[in-house]
């Protein structure tokens, strides 16, 4: 079974703090993704990476950055957390570059910024 793990299930931070969300996959997948999920908006893509040290902006990258130093690990960074970044964050990975590739999701991190 593909396993995607995220470092925390719940996280509470204060406005202005730097926040790191970590994601690890164990299936040697090329692609990794970060989404945020908000009620009524579905999932929105923040950033994705198709190779080590490579990254591409998704639909809502503002206020976020990412790092992929190793193939299995993809980190999402909030440089200065704000209350409008309170959300559920989901990490996913997929095998290659086919448009039919299944994305495998982690359990999510619910981040609250006070």
């Amino acid at each position: 079974d593909v396993k995607v793990t995220q470092s925390s299930r719940y996280l509470v931070k204060r406005t202005g703090e730097k926040v790191f969300l970590e994601c690890v996959q164990d299936m040697d997948h090329e692609n990794m993704f970060w989404y945020r999920q908000d009620p009524g908006l579905g999932l929105r893509l923040i950033y994705f990476s198709y190779d080590v040290k490579m990254k591409e902006k998704g639909d809502i990258p503002e206020g976020y950055s990412v790092s992929r130093e190793k193939k299995e690990r993809f980190s999402l960074i909030l440089e200065s957390a704000s209350t409008n970044q309170t959300s559920m964050y989901l990490c996913a990975s997929s095998y290659g570059t086919s448009d039919t590739d299944t994305q495998y999701f982690g359990p999510g991190t619910r981040l609250t910024v006070l």
Binding site: L41, G42, Y50, A92, T97, D99, Y104, P107
Partner: protein, 115 residues
Amino acid sequence: AQSVTQLDSHVSVSEGTPVLLRCNYSSSYSPSLFWYVQHPNKGLQLLLKYTSAATLVKGINGFEAEFKKSETSFHLTKPSAHMSDAAEYFCVVGGFSGGYQKVTFGTGTKLQVIP
């Protein structure tokens, strides 16, 4: 450009009755289409996907979906709802953008199953 519309934000059915979750898509070319399910406090899990091999796609837990190009629809159905089907369901359209896989999620349909 691609987009997906889930026509109902909430659907409520009685246990043992059929389930219909509606999804319409828009895509510049022949799309790949997915349905994912998210149970409370869990990550998303693939239910089924359409990859142009067959228009009727069978998935896990008795769900199936039919790709109808003329109607640009990919509705999810199940003949008989079970309590364990209560969850949020996402319709997803996949394609390529800039040489990379790009998927677009619908806003989700919450399925309530009444005993």
